[in-house]
Amino acid sequence: MTTIPPLCLSVYSENQVGVLSRLTAAFTRRNINIESLVVSSSDLDGVHRFTVQVCIPFAKAQRIALHLERQIDILAAEVHVPERTWIRELGLYRLPASVTDDPAFSAAIAPTGARLVHQDQMGVLLELTDTPAAHFVLQQALRPWPLLDMARTGALALDLQANRVRAAVREMLVPSNPAQFDDSGGAAVG
């Protein structure tokens, strides 16, 4: 059982076959378990965004981010500082239709913020978009009733401050001249 709180990395990549394999290999070779992984297209042209949630120290995650940026089809990677990161995850929960006959059910889910989004004779579908901790609370609240199925997306993370990495990815869409002094003052390492 892990005692290190989870943190999230956002990884921006080309939409190419094999990127996921290289990304997960960076964690596998260090014997790090990925707690959740989300991938989708981003608002940047042709750029996909992975959100990886892992339970490792921040400094170690930063080393992995640098390792990931070494990959040809990975454009940039960043570790989100937990204190300034908005983390949400979508979950769907299916229960028997009969639960709606139980007044305790409505009372149990009301404080969790879960919404009843579908109902028929096959069952009811609850949806919750909230933190991983809130999903845990909901799962505890649903314990008195049989949970037929459940699916969660995994954590999505957005930085609440100006995102340096997003800006860097944007700049990559413009050809640069590599034979210059970097006097921008913004270089992280050099």
Partner: protein, 582 residues
């Protein structure tokens, strides 16, 4: 590095206009030619047969050397790349052909060697069906390639070739693998070739900021006990002259890593020798005394640092490195300088003051004398007993004035060569450093010799390592490449035996080797040779080998249970280096 040749490119493009549709296999060949490739190594098989058929038609423009095992092909391509600075090319079929490349890919990845491997794959409609000789080579090789991709359409081949060569040679070089399905090789496409000049996301660092450079220069100018450790980044960037100039101006003495053996002239007054587990005594101990360590194009490998928490912990550290992932990975630098070693050194030079550091340099001499007395005399000038590895490699080095290209395998002989050969010029050393691949030297030396036929190429190999890829004598049979092979034969896996002796109570588990007659074995491949059983036989045998116009093999019988010293015990601090067994 070989860049696309514009004239040839224009010619090929013109040819493509006349005959616009060619097979994918021919597109591979034309792509290789456009990248300036005139020599490749490989081994045919079912899924790569269309490419071999196309190569048959271009044999005058593109020479193919047949290895006897795919591992030999990629090591030869590595040797070629490191001897020439160009991209090496290896070709193999799918399944076992591709998996036999894995060790070479890992080796090239560890040592930043630019190679492009082209492997066949089952037809695209059979992908994922466990078809004959189908392996998931993309997933197998992802962790050990700089980039890889599968190509399933003929029209995608030219762009894949162009990107492969660009990625292999640019930034920190490395291996690339292209997995091309058989149907893509057989299908037809219009051929136009555009060299790749950039890949977004693959950012090539320029130079650090002027402020950062000035900060580093100030540290160098103010240092009292500075030392340099030069690594392969100096070699890859062609920064030899800049390093020499910097050292001579500042008076800072220079040590080097195993892959930086030829970064600085061995006999220069400022040279300190190799650092690391079996390096020189003085520079290893002095890493714990220097006040400034300038690490140039090296990555603080554990064989260099020993216990990293103790390594140069009193010193301020300037780390010049082109791969941002290496900065701070093992040792946190005081001033990181991200960029190509040569470019950064040249940018620093105008900011540096002339210094001497004579007293600091003199402080190394007592330690050198101690090592000379306790280790070097015994290794180079033994009075009795069998030949020692050190005296053999020093004799080879002396006979070639430190200018031969020495290719070593892995083990005791490698450390003896690193310690006692003199490397007086750039590109005089090729070895398997990061991965430590036994079996590397013979095929790598063949590739090096074919790439640089004007050079004297000497492969120094242990008897264990030689037998890992001895079948590549077949490449010598085919090509007649004048590789000089020196087997330092102690009938043991010497380095493992040494550790067994020192740390496992001399329980020699499976390290004693019963060897074939290497001279007769070489003779079977048309390679003449001599056995060198005694010290008195050595000079004549070396002379005969160097005088022979073709390949030649020496089976040198060396002391069976000699150990390589000094030695930093694994995981210990460099300052605890041992001059002899405890």
């Amino acid at each position: 590095m070989n860049a696309p040749t514009s004239g040839l490119l224009a010619e090929l493009s013109a040819a493509a206009t006349i005959s616009p549709r060619i097979s994918g296999a021919e597109a591979i060949v034309r792509g290789l030619l456009a990248e300036g490739v005139d020599l490749c190594f490989g081994y045919p098989g079912g899924a790569i047969m269309p490419l071999y058929d196309a190569l048959f038609g271009f044999s005058e423009q593109l020479q193919h050397v047949l290895s006897r095992h795919e591992q030999g092909a990629i090591h030869a391509a590595q040797g070629y790349a490191r001897a020439t600075g160009r991209v090496g090319v290896a070709i193999a079929t799918s399944g076992p052909g591709a998996t036999n490349l894995v060790t070479g890919l890992a080796d090239a990845f560890a040592d930043s060697t630019p190679v492009v491997c082209i492997v066949g794959q089952v037809p695209s409609h059979l992908l994922g069906t466990d078809a004959f000789q189908e392996t998931d080579v993309i997933n197998i090789t992802s962790p050990i390639t700089k980039w890889n991709t599968q190509v399933t359409r003929a029209q995608d081949i030219p762009a894949a070739i162009a990107k492969a060569f660009y990625v292999a040679r640019s930034g920190r070089p490395g291996p690339v693998l292209l997995d091309i399905t058989k149907d893509a090789q057989q299908a037809f496409c219009a051929f136009t070739y555009q060299p790749c000049t950039a890949v977004r996301g693959h950012v090539i660092p320029g130079l650090p900021s002027r402020a950062r450079l000035a900060e580093a220069a100030g540290m160098i100018n103010r240092a009292h006990r500075p030392m340099i450790i030069a690594g392969q980044g100096v070699v890859l960037s062609g920064g030899h002259a800049a390093l020499l100039q910097l050292a001579e101006r500042t008076g800072v003495p220079v040590a080097w890593t195993l892959l930086g053996l030829d970064a600085f002239p061995s006999t220069h007054p400022l040279s300190l020798g190799m650092v690391g587990m079996h390096g020189r005594y003085a520079p290893n101990l002095k890493t714990a005394e220097c006040d400034l360590l300038i690490a140039i194009g090296m990555r603080f490998d554990d064989r260099v640092t020993g216990d990293a928490s103790q390594f140069a912990k009193q010193a301020r550290i300037i780390h010049i490195e082109r791969d941002p992932a290496e900065l701070g990975k093992i040792i946190q630098p005081t001033v990181p300088l991200l960029g190509d070693a040569r470019g950064v050194l040249e940018a620093l030079l105008p900011m540096l003051e002339a210094r001497d550091h004579a007293a600091w340099r003199a402080s190394f001499y007592a330690l050198d004398a101690l090592e000379e007395d306790r280790v070097i005399q015994r290794d180079l000038r033994p009075q009795t007993g069998q030949l020692r590895m050190g005296e053999v490699v020093r004799a080879l080095s002396d006979e070639t004035a430190g200018r031969a290209l020495i290719v070593t395998d892995v083990g005791q002989h490698q450390m003896a060569a690193a310690r006692y050969c003199r490397f007086e010029a750039p590109t005089t050393s090729i070895t398997s450093g990061g991965l430590g691949t036994m079996g590397f030297a013979l095929p790598a030396a063949i590739g090096a010799k074919l790439g640089a036929p004007e050079r004297t190429v000497i492969a120094i190999i242990g008897d264990g390592g030689f037998q890992m890829n001895q079948q590549e004598l077949g490449m010598l049979l085919d090509t007649g490449a004048a590789v000089k092979i020196v087997i330092l034969n102690n009938q043991f896996l010497g380095m493992v035996r040494q550790w067994q002796a020192l740390f496992y109570e001399s329980r020699y588990a499976q390290t004693e080797m019963r060897n074939p007659d290497f001279v007769r074995l070489a003779g079977a491949y048309g390679v003449p040779g001599l056995c060198v059983p005694t010290r008195e036989d050595l000079p004549g045998a070396i002379a005969a080998m160097l005088a022979c116009p073709g390949p030649f093999l020496l089976d040198v019988r060396v002391e069976r249970e000699a150990n390589v010293f000094p030695m930093v015990p694994a995981g210990a601090a460099t300052a605890s280096m041992l001059l002899e067994a405890p």
